[in-house]
């Protein structure tokens, strides 16, 4: 009998370990927000992130007073760090939606303890992403010109342009991600409302929970709404990065004009996003002693998803090279040759292959997949790799286009870097605030994972 149980455990590992009931999981997750004194480490982490975020503030101030000339964007590389960072951030966000929506539709129970902060990660990553195109317009106070509204100039946005599609895709994505996250939070905020001792917190959580009382009729509509949102977010998330990739592939430029771009970008986004989820999860579960809710099994699954999507991305790299050759178009062949061997940025291509292609091969082995330390290291390498991927696509394609007379070089200025690093600080500062103020794990969904949540009828065998 022991053997049978072992096999069942292996096929269907428990998603909540340890001796938990409804009350203890509720306490464990909500106490982080309500009871525990803010750990000292939180202040250190938040403090550092907040200070790094000041780089963003100062760069933005300098940018709006001096113009985009403070960046190194110039012909022929007119799109540089702002678009690289935009695509990088928005890609990171995609894993959150994948975990919350696609894995819900696929009935993957392991999503339950990681979906809440993966969704928060999505929101904050999209917030960072959105800053770049808005600031890149040069006059961000006029960014509302992107929206179609009747104006005294008598003009409308150009809807045939992928940049306009981006406006719709990214703003819809940000809005729907926020709705999805908030709807998931409502029952948990009601739990915090009922448990909070402080009058003001009780009041604030009471407002945010809309007076949720857990009625069966409400749960019925709630579940329909949640499932529909998942169904709507799934095509949405695929469309967002496809449209981002169309910013490039609709252009005629060699290195951008490729039909593989949409699926290749979507896979890359999920790849980068899972790396970021792992970077956040691995320390979080240790600091807050959450190993019984975010188990080793969760990490292993995420490692496997990273391996699978990483291999799709590698296939994309191979196809880019293959089609450059197969097209027999001399500009395409030259671009690829320039990108890989001859050009001044050849090293970035091979560094990219090392980070995204070679590093993930370790995930084939149990030893690395089951070690949080190695998963963490590989995730950081992959995050760097995915940033390099956008660097390679954007810079090496633009700096050697059709006419040798318009060739040029690109090297970022200090403000390109401070802006990018500043958004990383901003992102982590938001994550720290979220961990402190709201339940990091979906409490009501974890309750449904407990064996006693199942309704057992008399005379029925389960």
């Amino acid at each position: 009998m022991q053997d049978v149980n072992d096999i069942v455990r292996k096929i269907n590992p428990p998603m909540v370990e340890g001796d938990h009931d409804y009350g203890t999981v509720t306490d464990k997750i909500s106490d982080i927000t309500l009871k525990k004194r803010t750990p000292f480490g939180w202040f250190i982490g938040f403090g550092i992130s907040f200070m790094v975020a000041q780089l963003l503030l100062f760069t933005t101030l300098y940018l709006v007073t001096n113009g985009v000339g403070i960046w190194a964007n110039n012909q022929p590389v007119g799109w540089a760090f702002p678009i690289i960072n935009f695509v990088w951030w928005i890609g990171i966000g995609h894993a959150g939606t994948l975990i919350s929506a696609i894995l819900l539709l696929l009935n993957q129970k392991w999503r339950t303890s990681i979906n809440r902060f993966a969704e928060a990660m999505t929101l904050f990553a999209v917030a960072c992403a959105g800053l770049f195109p808005i600031l890149h317009t040069g006059r961000p106070w006029l960014a509302y010109w992107l929206l179609p509204y009747p104006n005294t100039m008598g003009m409308w946005p150009q809807f045939r342009s992928p940049l306009m599609w981006d406006v719709f895709a990214v703003s819809t994505y940000a809005t729907v991600s926020l709705l999805f996250w908030y709807v998931g939070l409502i029952p948990d905020i009601a739990t915090l409302r009922d448990r909070a001792k402080n009058k003001w917190f009780k009041y604030a959580y009471g407002l945010l929970s809309w007076g949720w009382r857990g009625s069966a009729r409400h749960w019925h509509r709630y579940e329909i709404a949640y499932l529909l949102l998942a169904g709507l977010s799934t095509p949405l998330v695929l469309s967002v990065h496809s449209i981002v990739s169309l910013d490039f592939s609709v252009a005629q430029l060699p290195g951008w004009h490729a039909t593989i771009f949409p699926p290749y970008f979507v896979a890359g986004a999920i790849f980068a996003g899972f790396a970021m989820v792992l970077i956040l999860t691995i320390p979080l579960r240790v600091w807050y002693n959450m190993k019984d809710l975010i188990t080793d099994t969760h990490l292993i699954y995420m490692g496997k998803v990273m391996l699978a999507t990483g291999l799709i991305v590698c296939y994309g790299y191979a196809m880019e090279a293959f089609f450059a050759w197969y097209s027999a178009a001399e500009y395409e062949v030259f671009m690829m040759y320039n990108r890989m061997f001859e050009g001044p940025y050849w090293w970035s291509y091979w560094l990219l292959i090392l980070c995204n292609g070679i590093s993930i091969q370790f995930l084939w082995f149990k030893r690395f997949r089951e070690s949080p330390f190695w998963l963490f290291i590989i995730s950081i390498v992959v995050s760097i790799g995915m940033w390099l991927e956008r660097f390679v696509i954007i810079i090496t394609s633009l700096q050697r286009d059709f006419l040798p007379s318009s060739w040029g070089m690109y090297s970022p200025t200090i403000f390109d870097w401070t802006m990018y690093i500043g958004t990383i600080g901003f992102f982590f500062a938001l994550i720290f605030l979220f961990v402190r103020m709201l339940p990091v794990i979906s409490i009501f969904e974890v309750r449904t994972l407990l064996p006693q949540a199942e309704v057992k009828r008399k005379g029925e065998e389960h």
Partner: protein, 177 residues
Amino acid sequence: MKDNIYGLMAEFDSSTELVEAAEKVRDAGYTKTDAFSPFPIHEMDEALGIKRSILSYLVFGGGITGLLLGLGLQYYTHVIDYPIIVGGRPHFSLPAFVPPMYELTILLASFTAVFGMLLLNGLPKPYHPVFNVPRFNLASREKFFLLIESADPRFDYPETKEFMESLDAQEVFIVDE
């Protein structure tokens, strides 16, 4: 004395007990009932006789509205109000109009799903009589509650209370109006 009560509420320890009790309440002919649980229980829909919500149809309508809005917006701006040839494409270049239409479909459908759900649920409702039961704050934690409203035609104060006590409940509470 017991005229101003909102209903009677029974407390249970497990989802199984709640579902079994709800079935008995339904079979006894009560219709103005409700159950409260810390997580969704799919068996409750049948046990309480909850009909499938119209929410899905509303969401479909929201999506269609978004689609037509996207089409209408682009048709008006590029064909009627400011026709201009860009990239040699016709004024009504439908393939290029698909992405904004698609995004608006999803946006309006999502808005309908979330706000439709909240409105059909009668939320926001910061005050509700069930919150008057002191132990009710455990409904968002670990306990399960079943309510029969006094507005139910079959409701009769002492009789319904006796009936609820026969359901193996932990305790039966009077919910004040």
